[in-house]
């Protein structure tokens, strides 16, 4: 797409969106047509915002890899994942992971770093943040094992929330969603907390390998995670808690 104009890139993206929307969604998943159509508008508005006011065009023009499997290994632990987009920047590479919102992803705040340390120490429980940090580790390390990486390159890892801000615009012609995206670069947190994050990875890895699913902060898990867990209603640990005397 390097030779395409900004406008052409936008048009291709929106065309692709239309095809994807038709194939990936169905009216029957929605209670009303109005809601279905609105969600389509919302998603399209997100794409439009990304390619008009957001950094989308640059991300396409500089893209060197998409949907690429990244792998890394440390101390016998093999991690892999699929990066949405890898962009060549002036100083190196930017790995981008698209999300609806970045609200619960890793950030560069001191508090976020502290939370990772608390989780590792078993003092508190921040599973979403840990998951986000493990993903960052996988991609930042993994990109360095690809052909597009050259030693000395600066790596940026970005969580990009396509629907970070949404609102509606009233109009007698019909309400329109107003959307803007927001990207957050978090590699700095990875580098400063590398040891903590790999400690977390190590523990998760060992637990899975050794079939050890004993929860560390069961009280916090129950309070924060069980309600959203799809398996709760069959989980004997959760049930035991509920029927205890």
């Amino acid at each position: 797409m390097a030779g395409e104009s900004d406008e052409e890139i936008r048009a291709v993206a929106l065309d692709a969106f239309d095809d994807e929307w038709d194939s990936q969604t169905s009216r029957t998943e929605y209670t009303t047509s109005a809601h279905y159509e609105y969600d389509e508008q919302l998603a399209r508005a997100a794409i439009e915002a990304y390619f008009s006011t957001g950094p989308g065009v640059g991300h396409v023009q500089g893209s060197v890899l998409t949907e690429v499997e990244l792998e890394c290994e440390r101390d016998g632990i093999l991690l892999h994942g699929y990066a949405d987009n890898v962009v060549r920047t002036d100083d190196g590479l930017q790995v981008i992971d698209y999300k609806p919102s970045v609200r619960y992803e890793l950030s560069t705040s001191d508090r976020a770093k502290e939370k990772l340390r608390e989780h590792l120490a078993g003092e508190d429980y921040h599973p979403r943040l840990v998951k986000s940090a493990i993903q960052a580790a996988t991609y930042i390390e993994g990109i360095q094992n690809t052909s597009v990486y050259e030693p000395g390159m600066e790596i940026v890892f970005t969580y990009y929330g396509l629907l970070a801000n949404t609102d509606i615009e009233k109009s007698t012609a019909g309400v329109q969603p107003r959307v803007s995206g927001y990207g957050r670069n978090v590699e700095e947190t990875y580098y400063s907390e590398e040891e903590t994050i790999w400690g977390l990875i190590q523990r998760a890895h060992d637990g899975i390998r050794e079939d050890n699913y004993e929860p560390i902060r069961w009280d916090a898990i129950r309070e924060n995670a069980c309600d959203r867990c799809d398996y709760r209603s069959m989980c004997t640990d959760a049930l035991a808690e509920e029927v205890q005397f």
Binding site: T32, A34, E37, I168, K170, S233, M234, L239
Partner: protein, 1143 residues
């Protein structure tokens, strides 16, 4: 004996008190009685009806009595029947809706509706709302059907609420459309608000901080400019509809400009010299130029004029979208020949506009009596007015107990609206309360007296001993954390049950205690705390969500609807079939899907094949039935096939009733869904949507053996010896604006404007009334649990709220104080000196809920002791208990509890005594500790189940038929069909019950007059209480009274060798003035038709009383240790115990 309030089932009617007697005997109409809580208003109303019939020869069928719920209507009929005999049933006791239903059926042709119309049920309504949502052009609102946080927040919830608000006020879609006008204009009106804020920014928002005379003068000029701009905007507006309403707002703003200019002038000196310095920021704040109150304006002041106008315009915009959905909903209702509750009344009102029809309908009644009038909405008010043709209207209610405004009820109906409509209205009040101790009433009076805009000045006073009581109020300062508050409450309840609270002499049973919550979620932590202590509780409908057992039953339904739902299937295999972990793993790791593996894996691969086999068979059988049965029927099959009830705790079984009644509601409507995933989704949606528009006003069903937990709304009309009110803090009782209130009010009457009142204030008034209702449920002990809210109020140097108020013009309804209910502040300020503080006594002791106890002389934490017991039990099951010495392994049960647990209560019935004479152990297990029954095995029980169900259906039929005075087998069969449908009985059982009806009509009893059916009694014998129900009391052809018990069984009973009939006769001595000495059985089962009766002499009854006393005394001491083995063991629900083997 003092007169009892309506709720009392006491069989001996007291005499009316003087104020009640005056009302009963008065011939003056129209009359309104404002009757406070517990003052016997229904009692008075029923006695007045009785008086009219008895003393004034008014024919019962010339009297119309309207109430709110079917239950209340039935109860009124029953009371009149008890007093007047059969003529009591001739009084037309209806609900506001049911009379309209009957009128519309009769006059369907004139009303231009399909005579076969159905009343819409929840399922129909949800489906119609969803369809209507697609008819909306979304210009101002989001089409997202459900909100991100709560289903009720989305378009579906909004439309439902909008329609219900508008219909309760009798506002049609076209009225709304005419009012709102063009959508473009609504956008422009929003821009108008922006312009005013912009203008205020230019004219009255200043950057300086030190006021001076010049600066204040300049600001006064600014205010004049702002006022002029607003006036210009106003004169450009139209003279009708929404523009006229906005103009009213602008007028209020102009007045405010004038008033603020006066403030700046009058208070100039005090503003400059600091005392009222922040006043110079008031204009800019009130006209919306600050996002939050600036320095010097109290944080608790949230009202701005531009904010209020913006909210109104936004409400109009939202309505402009929703009105299309409203129109579509109405259209679809009509197409489907459905009517909703509001339509029943609306269509009847339309019908009554025809003077001839009105004369015909209203002409059927000479007197119209209305109960709970404070809960009527605008259309119900009109209905009553139309029906009370010649003003012989008697209205009773309590403005202080009006707690349904959020659903459209209008408290004015019993106040000024009634006074204006009926200029000759005779006002009466009832203030003598027959329920509560005086200190409880003092607190309740005090809180309600602080209600501004209260319609009356009633003051409740206790009578009898309660008047002189000085105790009855306790407070607990609640911990900040809800869980800790729950611990405090559970501790207090535990101590009440154990009788160990220092200042409470009485010992209470769990059923004496009620816990009334303002919001559903308040109950949850308290329930957990009660659970941990093993204190039995009952959640009234709506609160029973999150029950483990109910979720298992739901999981079963989900797994049946979709076998690929492996999470649900696993849940069922774990919780119902108790599959071993190894077997679950085997099934889940099989190459087939879980449901296929369950059906196909060879049983010998499993560690516990029997359990797998049972699960396999049950699933197979139920899957096959899923296609052909309705949901309600399938649900019954599920319970029978799987015996899942047995796997639920008594609490969970109670919880399950909520789900059952929800599913049953699908059996009544036009829509009969099959069990599929969309149905289950609908089920969960209905629960969440109904939170926003609660469909029922019925009282909660209460239980006598568990703490009753319910919302205050559900407790209306009930009474309990002890009432706990938790979460009494300002933030939990904070008033809020109700959606579409302002618009609804503006559209309701021609002269109404959006500035007539502060609608948030109305919610505050209602909160106060809810609290009043809650407190007045308590008879002996009211426990108030709350705390002061965090101080979000006034800082040093802030203007005082009252100062600000004094400068807000009267033309605007909002005050700086806004709407707030500092509930704990008011409670603590008004406490009587005798109120006791339990906070210290319920504070957590060392170890919290895990105290140290003594086990065989050793001190251990209670949890450790429990674990040890469980380990012993496990060892017993695994057969490896050898290493334990029986001498030291034993535990005294008492050691496991610090408070002794809830006391066991002894209440006896004929059946329980019979069981005792059979076997002491059985009595102990069934009636004292309420032990689990053995699980049912195989199909052995199905025959007895069907005989029992048949019997229940026949008894219910006989009861209802008697109450409706039906005397032909055809009519009885109709009732049987009706009840069969409602209770989802199988066709076979309905047929068997009809067989019973046939047999009944072959007996002589069917030609006798029925005087009473299913009459409850409480018989007191030397301090022992026996309760029960008498099937029927008849007057035979010789004119004598006879007690008859229906038997649907296969065997006849001896008339001589049992206590049942004499118990009934002894009870009748207390219930009826007339002597009854004959009793017997009517056999309607396969052993019949037959009837046998005998008479009992006084001597025989006296002897029987003596025998009873002996048995009662013995039954008090029933123990687990004594048992009698015999033939009865084979039917015993505990026959798995070793005792049955000894026979």
């Amino acid at each position: 004996m003092s007169p009892s309030p309506s709720e009392d089932d006491s069989d001996e009617e007291p005499s009316p008190r003087i104020p009640q007697q005056r009302i009963i005997e008065s011939s003056e109409y129209p009359m309104r009685v404002l009757a406070g809580a517990g003052t016997g208003k229904t009692f008075t109303m029923v006695r007045k009806v009785e008086h009219l019939i008895d003393e004034h020869d008014v024919s019962p069928d010339r009297i119309l009595a309207l109430t709110f719920t079917n239950k209340a209507a039935a109860s009124m009929r029953e009371k009149l029947n008890e007093k007047l005999g059969a003529p009591g049933y001739d009084v037309n006791a209806y609900t506001y809706h049911s009379i309209c239903h009957d009128i519309l059926r009769e006059y369907a042709y004139h009303a231009e509706i399909d005579p076969q119309f159905d009343v819409v049920n929840n399922a129909d309504r949800t489906a119609l709302i969803h369809e209507a949502l697609d008819e909306i052009t979304y210009r101002f609102t989001s089409p997202e059907v459900y909100g991100p946080d709560s289903h009720a927040d989305g378009a579906a919830g909004s439309l439902l609420k909008f329609i219900s608000t508008m219909k309760s006020k009798g506002i049609s879609p076209s009225t709304i459309e005419t009012f709102l006008g063009d959508a473009d204009r609504l956008l422009e009106l929003e821009a108008l608000v922006d312009r005013i804020v912009d203008r205020a920014n230019e004219t009255v928002r200043v950057s300086w901080r030190a006021p001076s005379a010049d600066r204040l003068e300049e600001m006064r000029d600014g205010l004049a400019d702002l006022q002029q701009s607003i006036e210009d905007e106003r004169t450009a507006l139209g003279q009708t509809g929404v523009e006229q309403s906005v103009a009213t707002f602008l007028c209020g703003m102009e007045e405010t400009c004038t008033s603020l200019a006066e403030l700046l002038e009058t208070e100039e000196a005090s503003i400059i010299d600091d005392e009222h310095k922040p006043a110079f920021r008031l204009p800019a704040y009130l006209f919306g130029t600050y996002a939050s109150p600036p320095s010097g304006i109290p944080d608790s002041m949230s009202v701005t004029l531009t904010g209020k106008l913006r909210s109104f315009v936004e409400e109009c915009q939202e309505a402009a979208d929703l009105v299309a959905g409203y129109t579509a909903y109405e259209q679809r209702l009509h197409e489907a020949s459905l009517v909703d509750f509001a339509d029943l009344i609306g269509a009847t009102l339309d019908l009554l506009e025809d003077p001839n029809i009105r004369a015909e309908i209203a002409g059927q009644y000479d007197y119209v009596f209305c109960d709970e009038f404070q809960d009527t909405d605008a259309v119900q008010f009109e209905l009553v007015d139309q029906l009370a043709d010649d003003d012989k209207l008697f209205v009773v209610g309590d403005d202080d107990q009006a707690i349904y405004e959020w659903r459209g009820a209008a408290v004015e109906n019993i106040g000024h609206r009634l006074e204006e409509r009926y200029e000759t209205l005779i006002p009466e009040t009832l203030e003598e309360n027959f329920r509560s101790k005086q200190p409880i009433l003092d607190v309740a009076n005090n809180v309600i007296a602080q209600l501004e805009a209260r319609g009356s000045e009633k003051e409740l006073t206790a009578v009898g001993d309660a008047a002189n009581a000085s105790d009855g109020i306790a407070t607990i300062t609640a911990a900040e954390d809800d869980e800790e508050q729950a611990e405090q409450i559970a501790t207090a309840i535990g101590r009440l049950l154990a009788g160990s609270l220092s200042d409470v002499d009485e010992t209470y049973g769990a059923g004496d205690i009620a816990l009334l919550v303002r919001k559903n979620r308040h109950a949850k932590p308290i329930v957990r705390a009660l659970e941990e202590r093993g204190i039995p509780y009952q959640l009234a409908g709506g609160l029973a969500a999150d029950s483990v057992g109910v979720e298992t039953v739901l999981a079963y339904l989900k797994a049946l609807a979709n076998p690929a739902d492996e999470v649900s299937l696993n849940r069922v295999l774990t919780m119902r079939y108790r599959l071993h972990d190894v077997d679950l793993r085997l099934l889940n790791t099989a190459s087939d899907s879980l449901s296929e593996a369950l059906q196909s894996l060879p049983l010998d691969q499993f560690r516990e094949p029997e359990r797998v086999r049972r699960a396999r068979e049950d699933f197979q059988a139920l899957r096959a039935k899923r296609e052909i049965y309705s949901v309600a029927r399938l649900f019954r099959e599920l319970k029978e096939q799987t015996n899942i009830d047995w796997y639920l705790s008594p609490q969970e079984r109670r919880d399950l009733r909520t789900l059952e009644s929800l599913i049953d509601s699908f059996g009544e409507g036009a829509l009969q869904p099959a069990l599929d995933e969309s149905f289950l989704e609908l089920l969960s949606l209905m629960e969440s949507l109904d939170d926003s528009v609660a469909g029922v006003q019925d009282q909660a069903e209460t239980v006598s053996d568990a703490v009753n937990i319910m919302t205050v709304h559900k407790s209306k009309g009930l009474e309990f010896p002890v009432v706990f009110l938790p979460n009494l803090s300002a933030d939990q009782w904070e008033p809020s604006t109700r959606s579409y209130d302002t618009l609804g009010h503006t559209l309701e009457e021609t002269a109404a404007t959006p500035l007539d009142q502060d609608f948030e204030k109305r919610d505050e008034y209602e909160a106060r009334r809810i609290f009043h209702v809650a407190m007045t449920r308590a008879e002996e002990q009211l426990v108030l649990v709350g705390r002061h809210a965090d101080d979000g109020g006034v800082d040093d140097g802030d203007l005082s709220l009252s100062f600000i108020d004094s400068w807000l013009p009267e033309q605007i309804p909002w005050r700086a104080t806004g709407a707030s209910f500092p509930i704990w502040q008011e409670v603590t300020a008004g406490l009587p000196p005798t109120a006791t503080d339990w906070t210290d006594e319920v504070a957590p002791i060392d170890g919290g809920v895990d105290p140290t106890i003594s086990v065989n002389g050793e001190s251990v934490p209670q949890s450790v002791a429990r674990d040890r017991v469980l380990a012993l039990a496990r060892g017993l099951l695994n057969g490896d208990l050898d290493s334990v010495s029986p001498a030291t392994a034993g535990f005294a049960v008492e050691a496991l509890s610090t408070d002794g647990g809830p006391a066991l209560s002894h209440r006896h019935s004929y059946t329980s005594l019979e069981k005792y004479s059979q076997c002491s152990r059985r009595h102990y297990l069934d009636y004292l500790v309420r032990a689990f029954e053995d699980p049912q095995r195989g199909d052995t029980g199905s025959n007895t189940v069907s005989i029992r169900d048949t019997g229940i259906l026949f008894h219910d039929t006989a009861e209802l038929a008697a109450k409706r005075s039906l005397t032909s087998p055809e009519k009885w069969n109709d009732v049987c069909d009706e009840l069969g449908r409602q209770g989802s009985y199988s066709a076979g059982i309905v047929d068997q019950a009809k067989g019973c009806i046939d047999r009944y009509f072959s007996t002589e009893a069917s030609s006798w007059e029925i005087l009473s059916a299913e009459r409850s009694f409480t018989l007191d014998i030397d301090g022992h209480t026996i309760t029960g129900k008498i099937d029927a009391v008849y007057r035979n052809s010789a004119g004598n009274l006879v007690v008859l018990d229906y038997k649907a069984t296969t065997m006849q009973r001896s008339l001589d060798d049992n206590l049942q009939l004499p118990i009934y006769l002894l009870a009748c001595q207390q219930l009826f003035d007339e002597r009854i000495d004959e009793a017997g059985y009517v056999y309607v089962g396969s052993v019949g038709p037959d009837m046998s009766t005998r008479t009992f002499s006084d001597d025989e009854l006296a002897q029987c009383r003596q025998d009873l006393l002996t048995r009662l005394q013995a039954a008090e001491d029933s123990t687990f240790d004594d048992y009698t083995a015999g033939d009865h063991c084979q039917w015993c629900p505990h026959r798995s115990l070793s005792c049955s083997q000894t026979h």
